[in-house]
Symmetry: C2
Subunit: 422 residues, 2 copies
């Protein structure tokens, strides 16, 4: 499974310290203590002087604020590597790093095919991962029981006791109110309007936070990916459905009521194709796998046969398209054009500095084909500027689980920084 | 003209102090000094104790910070009205208010029918307004010349010298980069990619800030309207085109590159109706006045006649629809359904706590008819919740000009608060 985290042409090892250390200069929207912590976490290890420089604050402020963070066990001092252009003299240079052993959390991605979990330490290093088959749609009790077993399994692999966990983050597909901990609707749950966080917290005995799975991909990018260099970007996930996460000024934007960003259910055609949400004309109903599967039997001349399972059907469809089957090509072509329309709307409405396309589906050529990109540019306003850069990150479920773990880390960190401040 | 500012069923007198004094508690995203200033401005006049209470900070902090603001002439002390339930004893109660005479600014709304200007004082009171006919599309030089004359006219009406102006804000329809001061494209300008702010600043000799006109309506609501009670809301303007402004956490969100929120150019149909922007399938191409006018001749059985001007044509179309003309009704019905689709997408993507529909067009029944609203609810996700509240504010051009003036006030205030802080 772990190789899912290594998409072609992209480097991602799921832990901080491997990327550029560029972090935007300090802004007033987050408390300084939190900015310092995030700066250190993003950098892996960094000297106090470099923290002061990158946040545009005085070294004295950094020293004061980090001493609190060190005494509360959140940060620790480590030996700094001397730079290539520096001669080491005097006392050895000291850098700050997040204390990896301070806390361990588990992140879980629920989906209708399989559930994936990772255990990570406080510095974001992955300790272990585990996967179980999903029952598809199940009762909340059953999903929590499977999650329970999965958490035990990943703790066993990580060689830690469950008592050592500080929190659990769970990514739930569907309409999720993260702040309220409520799942309004999910394709993996038969129940609706569930106080999922509360039920999970009661069962597991430690704080459980939940979010829409696409938000968690954005969170993973924010914590461990491009978020280290960019303040504003959108993540568009294309899997069984289409999702979106938006980062504004280094923060995940969830909408006024904790919902929103439901790109898959943006209407792109009045009275259009039927969506699995029950409404018509949703983007998802034109680009998701079940949408492609609807027309696949016709393209493959299999109209009288029992349908294959969706993944096999799509594999066959894709092979036929590559081999020149005009009908199969037409299915991918239309889906690509609708995807371009959806992304053009993201550009024209949200104006992100970067769009990241994420999801396993990204390996299908059509989704990032030149046709789609030029279509996108045609439909984006201000043609002199064109569409923002688009990156394809074909991460697998592990990345999503990593985002869920980041959500749990956020909750733990907020508590700690709150305590350290008081 | 001034009665345009008094839509039916809504109270708006264009100055602070007339609404509820509810302002959300302090958040870290804006400097405290600015939050105090905004709190006073929103309240009209307010005691130091009430400022401290509403921002959740100590009275001592308020006293310190406001003494700076008073000595720089931004705030002043005024007599506080004793509350009904209080007995006045001891020294008379003192409240804080924005010094109205500290600064005067002018706001201008450019449009393809007429240009409107208002002069307001530092407390937001309207001193005068003026209107001139627009030439439709003109060169930047010509538009600046007309604006110049309009500014002189409004200063004359306000009985102030032009030298007394601290700044000018201009609302420009089209694709505007506010931070860069650049107009990429506008229906009132023949030129493209113009450094409009710089040219206007050079001509007028005082700082000129510009923005998309829909953003200015949002700014006017933020400063003088519902923004006093709400932190997150969207404004959708329906006039010659369709625009949108988004307020997130008490701030106007303009997108990463200062563009975005181009709701009128959200694609709602692949290869759909031609839009005046040159692309196809934009929302505007289904709901703007020119879109309705395209089909009006057919509905009015006037196919062989020279077309009426758009406003007269739409009046006739509306009268016919009310009189039972099925074709005319069908035009409004479809436009209403597309508007519902557009608003459902705003809900599903941005999740605002409130949507304000703004613009003179709002008086056409179809736009806020029950049909449209129920359609909107059908297309909004999470049916238990339904769409957020929708308010119709049928403000005229004066409101937009007021927003432009608020933009100028923002720039002046930022400079002053920056100086007071240093």
């Amino acid at each position: 499974m772990d190789d899912l985290l290594q998409p072609e042409g992209h480097q991602f090892d799921g832990r901080p310290g491997c990327g550029p250390r560029i972090v935007s200069s300090g802004d007033a929207s987050r408390p300084l203590r939190q900015q310092i912590f995030e700066n250190v976490r993003a950098a892996g290890s960094i000297s106090r002087a470099d923290v002061a420089k990158s946040l545009g604050i005085s070294p004295a402020s950094v020293t004061t604020l980090t001493s609190d963070l060190i005494s509360s066990g959140i940060l620790e001092e480590v030996a700094d590597k001397p730079r290539a252009d520096e001669h080491t003299r005097g006392r050895p240079p000291v850098a700050l790093a997040v204390s990896p052993r301070a806390h361990v959390v588990v992140g879980v991605k629920l989906s209708d095919r399989e559930h994936t979990a990772v255990a990570i330490d406080f510095a974001g290093n992955r300790l272990a991962s585990a996967t179980v088959q999903s029952a598809g749609v199940a009762s909340t009790e059953d999903v929590l029981a499977v999650t329970d077993a999965l958490v035990s399994q990943v703790c066993l692999s990580a060689e830690i006791s469950r008592d050592a966990l500080s929190g659990i983050g769970i990514g739930v597909p569907g309409f999720v109110d993260s702040d309220g901990g409520i799942v309004h609707w999910s394709p993996v749950l038969v129940d609706r309007r569930i106080s999922f966080s509360d039920m999970a917290t009661a069962r597991f005995g430690i704080p459980v936070t939940i979010d829409n799975d696409a938000n968690l991909v954005a969170l993973a990018e924010l914590w461990f990916g491009v978020g280290r260099q960019m303040a504003n970007f959108a993540v568009v996930t294309i899997e069984h459905g289409v999702g979106m996460g938006l980062v504004i000024n280094h923060k995940l934007y969830r909408g006024a009521l904790g919902l929103g960003m439901e790109l898959g259910h943006m209407k792109v055609q009045l009275d259009g194709a039927l969506c699995r949400c029950g409404q018509r004309g949703c983007l998802e109903a034109y680009v998701a796998d079940y949408a492609l599967a609807r027309e696949a039997n016709a393209a493959l001349n299999r109209l009288d046969e029992a349908s294959l399972a969706v993944p096999a059907l799509l594999e066959s469809l894709f092979d036929n398209a590559k081999a020149g089957n005009v009908a199969a090509k037409s299915i991918f072509h239309r889906a690509g054009r609708y995807l371009a329309l959806g992304l053009a709307n993201v550009v024209n409405l949200f104006d992100p500095a970067l769009i990241i396309l994420s999801g396993e589906r990204m390996r299908y050529d059509y989704l990032y084909a030149e046709d789609m990109m030029s279509e996108l540019n045609r439909m984006s306003l201000v043609s002199e500027r064109g569409a923002p850069p688009i990156e394809v990150h074909a991460w697998g479920d592990l990345l999503w689980a990593h985002g869920a773990a980041a959500l749990a880390l956020s909750a733990v960190t907020e508590n700690l920084l709150g305590e350290a401040a008081s």
